[in-house]
Symmetry: C2
């Protein structure tokens, strides 16, 4: 589903260049559950932003389900993103003056295969999966950190995308809520959805069947955790 070849991402700040990704070669098959680990600043979120079509590599090739993403214009990139990818951001990125329910409904509004009466039930189902049905009218500033994180997760799942990219999805969750969220991701993976998850917690990486470690913008380790 994902092929990265010789991907490089440089951030230019005047005279300084930050090599956020020095060189990434990576293949991920449909249905894999991949954990991405590595030190703070090693390039994990930068990698996720490129996979999620939110950022472009400085050089190198990215193929998503066979499509050469580099060639896509901004509008096609947005369409691929909305249709195929669910993204849980490290900083949640919820719409501020918008309720939890409306935040989760948003991706559904772009989905032409749905009738308008399907929208709310689908959103409620996603919120129920992350145990947040009693806060649906709260805006992000009226939610706890972990509740905001769960809204971000529900929003990523609601369109049943073929690829879920989750950047530290349990960073603000207690162990019990983390287990609930990870079993939701596990059951989606069992139905064939590909998951790439950034985490710094070893307990969370155990849910994956493959672990990739980044250091200074390169992959230094790529191991199968257990038989898929």
């Amino acid at each position: 589903i994902i092929t990265l070849r010789n991907i490089k991402r440089v951030f230019s700040m005047g005279q300084i260049e930050v090599n956020a990704l020095a060189r990434i070669d990576l293949d991920i098959q449909h249905g894999e559950f991949v954990a991405v680990m590595g030190a703070s600043g090693s390039g994990k979120s930068t990698l996720m932003n490129i996979l999620g079509c939110l950022d472009r590599a400085t050089s190198g090739d990215y193929y998503l389900e066979g499509v050469h993403v580099n060639d896509l214009n901004k509008r096609d990139l947005a369409r691929v993103r909305n249709k195929k990818i669910g993204f849980v951001f490290q900083g949640f990125n919820l719409l501020p003056r918008t309720s939890a329910l409306e935040n989760v409904l948003l991706p559904l509004l772009y989905n032409r295969d749905l009738r308008s009466r399907d929208l709310k039930p689908k959103a409620m189902k996603a919120l129920d999966a992350v145990a947040l049905t009693d806060r649906i009218h709260h805006e992000p500033s009226q939610l706890s950190g972990g509740q905001q994180q769960r809204v971000a997760i529900a929003r990523a799942l609601v369109n049943e995308p073929s690829l879920i990219l989750a950047d530290e999805p349990t960073g603000n969750l207690d162990s019990r809520t983390s287990i609930e969220v990870m079993s939701v991701l596990q059951s989606l993976n069992n139905r064939g959805i590909t998951i790439v998850l950034v985490t710094h917690e070893p307990d969370i990486s155990l849910y994956a069947n493959r672990i990739i470690e980044l250091k200074d913008g390169r992959i230094i380790r790529d191991v199968l955790a257990r038989q898929p």
Copy 2:
């Protein structure tokens, strides 16, 4: 240093009332290192915001170093906050178009005991303690999640406050960086600084000498972890 008596915090949203804190009675002595744990939404950040003088309780009394905080007006509250308390926010709350260095310098500008030539060395010392001296001119949007978190930590430490309140300070940090941050907090505690830290990670709570657990806005457990 901290006394909370019969603290209650209700959020009103039209007809609905959320009892974020139902009843909190709590005494914390100078020099303690307290970990606050509990499920997502149990009231931890609400408690921290009241301790940090960023929010007022709906009812009940808060004494900070003997001062009845309830009686303070807005300006005195701000002065207490800047002088006595260092706060690491769950969402970091860095100033957006402001470099890491400037974010860390900000609390020092309020400190009348410092000469202007002391400011930058102090800020650099705090940034060095969190291993971030190579990113001092980056703005938050140019920093990784864990780097932003470390700027927030450095900013909380830089004025050497008598009380540090840290809400999930390692939520976005890999294990090695977490250990570095926790040993900084531990050495501050060894010098007599009181630390109250919210965490959902048991490994992090082991650095504390007292663990408090919240559930539905109440303290359900309060244990000494080891001899102080």
